[in-house]
């Protein structure tokens, strides 16, 4: 399975899987993104750090194509996606795990898991996903929203792993979860990285981000204002605290 992912990666390994340049975005009338620029290499985990309202979630929404209006350039796997509807972007191999988790109340856990269509070959099998998140198997017949917050988060991640998406957009997966669940999600992300998935992670909790990420992009007022490699994070804590205002 991991092999399949490597096979699907771009031929030129140094080329970024995702390259964003001068991305601007609007929510209705309000201009939220003012020229976001960053890129993500195949197999990499990057985080978007920043204060509330800085534009992190909006950036993810722009990548998957569900922002009302966007401008600039988003190249995924060599394809310019700025003018595409979200369903075609997803079909290129982008999987989206939204902030509010997006579990459907009128669907069972199993139906939630099976909902996103396969977009590329090489996704995990249902058994693999249930092995990764045993809780979900036990509760596969329950209503989706009857799960605990942590289980809902696992379901939200798990259903994307089925689709064969190469790039996973994760919006605050640890928000509001107990430490033990956060650890489990961290282990999951490390395992996905080992299997060759590429991840863009929006995170408030940089302590958590530090355990999984390769690079951190700092977002401020709709722009990427800094990049901190993970191994330099500790050296840059002062600067980071200033950015995040903690």
């Amino acid at each position: 399975m991991a092999d399949a992912h490597r096979a699907a990666a771009p031929r030129d390994a140094s080329a970024p899987l995702l390259a964003i340049e001068g991305l601007e975005g609007w929510y209705g009338e309000s201009h939220v993104l003012h020229g976001v620029t960053f890129d993500v290499r195949p197999g990499e985990v990057v985080t978007l750090l920043g204060r509330n309202g800085a534009g992190k979630t909006t950036t993810l929404r722009a990548i998957i194509g569900i922002l009302g209006k966007r401008r600039g350039s988003i190249v995924f796997d060599g394809v310019e996606t700025i003018g595409m509807p979200s369903r075609l972007i997803a079909r290129l191999g982008v999987g989206y795990v939204p902030e509010e988790r997006g579990i459907f109340a009128s669907l069972s856990v199993h139906e939630n898991l099976m909902l996103p269509p396969r977009v590329k070959p090489g996704g995990m099998s249902v058994d693999d996903i249930y092995a990764l998140f045993p809780n979900l198997r036990e509760r596969s017949r329950s209503q989706g929203t009857k799960l605990s917050g942590g289980e809902q988060q696992m379901l939200s991640i798990g259903r994307i792993l089925r689709t064969g998406a190469k790039l996973i957009l994760l919006d605050e997966p640890t928000e509001g979860l107990a430490p033990v669940i956060v650890q489990q999600i961290g282990r999951t992300l490390q395992r996905l990285k080992a299997e060759g998935y590429t991840t863009v992670l929006v995170e408030q909790n940089f302590r958590f981000a530090q355990t999984v990420a390769d690079r951190h992009f700092v977002v401020e007022q709709g722009r990427v204002v800094d990049m901190i490699p993970n191994h330099d994070l500790d050296a840059n804590l002062g600067k980071l605290h200033a950015y995040l205002g903690v």
Binding site: R87, Y96, A105, L107, P116
Partner: protein
């Protein structure tokens, strides 16, 4: 002769059967309305007109092309469904970003056009449609005479309603529909073609209406006003049931048909308004409807 509360059992069961038949149409129509509303947020005012169109397609097939009832059961829903798909793609799709009331106004206009065109061409007096030979005649039960065609209508609409329920609750396509009803944006972000799903849903809903129209053709005369008369009652049915639940729509439809039948027996003057009165009572007691979620 046996009587209950001074009413003969024959009259009672006869009216209950009629009520059950009306209830069949209420159920099929309100089911389609609820499915369409769930995904499109549009109350399809043209639903009655498309039901009428189904009956007319059956009549035209029989009288102009010599194709009988069983063909009509197949062709009319497909033809009207296709017409509905065109309406959705060309007209309704332009309104999804606006206030939902515009959808109501647009489909009201469409209902006027469709109804006016049929009246212009076929007059308003009504055309007869004969019961197919396989379903003519009836059964002599101990307490009443049961016409075969009426039994067939009740059975067929029950099967149609339950199959629709199974389709929505138990299949993959139904899961897409339920999910998109909750959050169309996210379903689109998973790579599902939501605009196509919307078109199919509208076509399916109005196809159901057309199917009801074909079933109705041999019972009522086929006339351009038949849809307008029933759709307002169906709106009341939908308000009473609430549009949150598929089974709720079906139950409410059949139940209110029966209540209407009973009213015809015991207090005939009130039979045309009883459903509206029930609606008023439900609004006072449980504004979200019997099976509705809040607001």
């Amino acid at each position: 002769m046996t009587t209950i509360f001074g009413v003969s059992v024959q009259a009672l069961s006869g009216q209950l059967l009629l009520g059950l038949i009306n209830g069949s149409f209420y159920a099929m129509l309100s089911l389609g309305l609820a499915i369409i509303f769930g995904l499109l947020n549009v109350i399809n005012f043209a639903h009655g007109a498309l039901y009428m169109m189904g009956a007319f397609v059956a009549w035209i097939l029989l009288n102009e092309l010599g194709l009988g009832y069983w063909w009509a059961l197949l062709i009319a829903p497909l033809a009207v469904g296709l017409f509905g798909a065109l309406l959705e793609r060309l007209l309704l799709a332009r309104l999804y970003k606006l206030d939902h009331l515009y959808g109501l106004l647009l489909t009201f206009g469409l209902a006027l056009i469709i109804q006016g065109l049929f009246r212009q061409h076929y007059g308003s007096s009504g055309l007869p449609y004969v019961i197919p030979p396989e379903l003519s005649g009836g059964q002599r039960l101990p307490f009443m005479f049961l016409p075969n065609y009426r039994a067939w209508v009740v059975a067929a609409s029950l099967v149609i309603c339950l199959s629709t329920w199974l389709l929505i609750e138990k299949t993959k396509l139904g899961a897409y529909l339920r999910a998109a009803t909750e959050n169309p944006t996210l379903v689109g972000a998973f790579g599902v073609n939501v605009p196509l799903l919307i078109t199919l849903t509208y076509a399916f809903g109005v196809g159901l209406a057309a199917l009801a129209g074909v079933l109705a053709a041999p019972i009522y005369s086929v006339n351009p006003a038949m849809g307008a008369d029933i759709i307002i009652v169906v709106f009341a049915v939908v308000v009473i049931g609430g549009m949150g639940s598929i089974l709720g729509s079906i139950l409410t439809g059949f139940g209110l048909g029966l209540v209407e039948g009973l009213t015809k027996v015991f207090y005939p003057e009130a039979s045309s308004v009883v459903i509206f009165v029930i609606m008023a009572v439900v609004l006072l007691a449980k504004p979200s409807g019997l099976f509705g979620r809040s607001a």
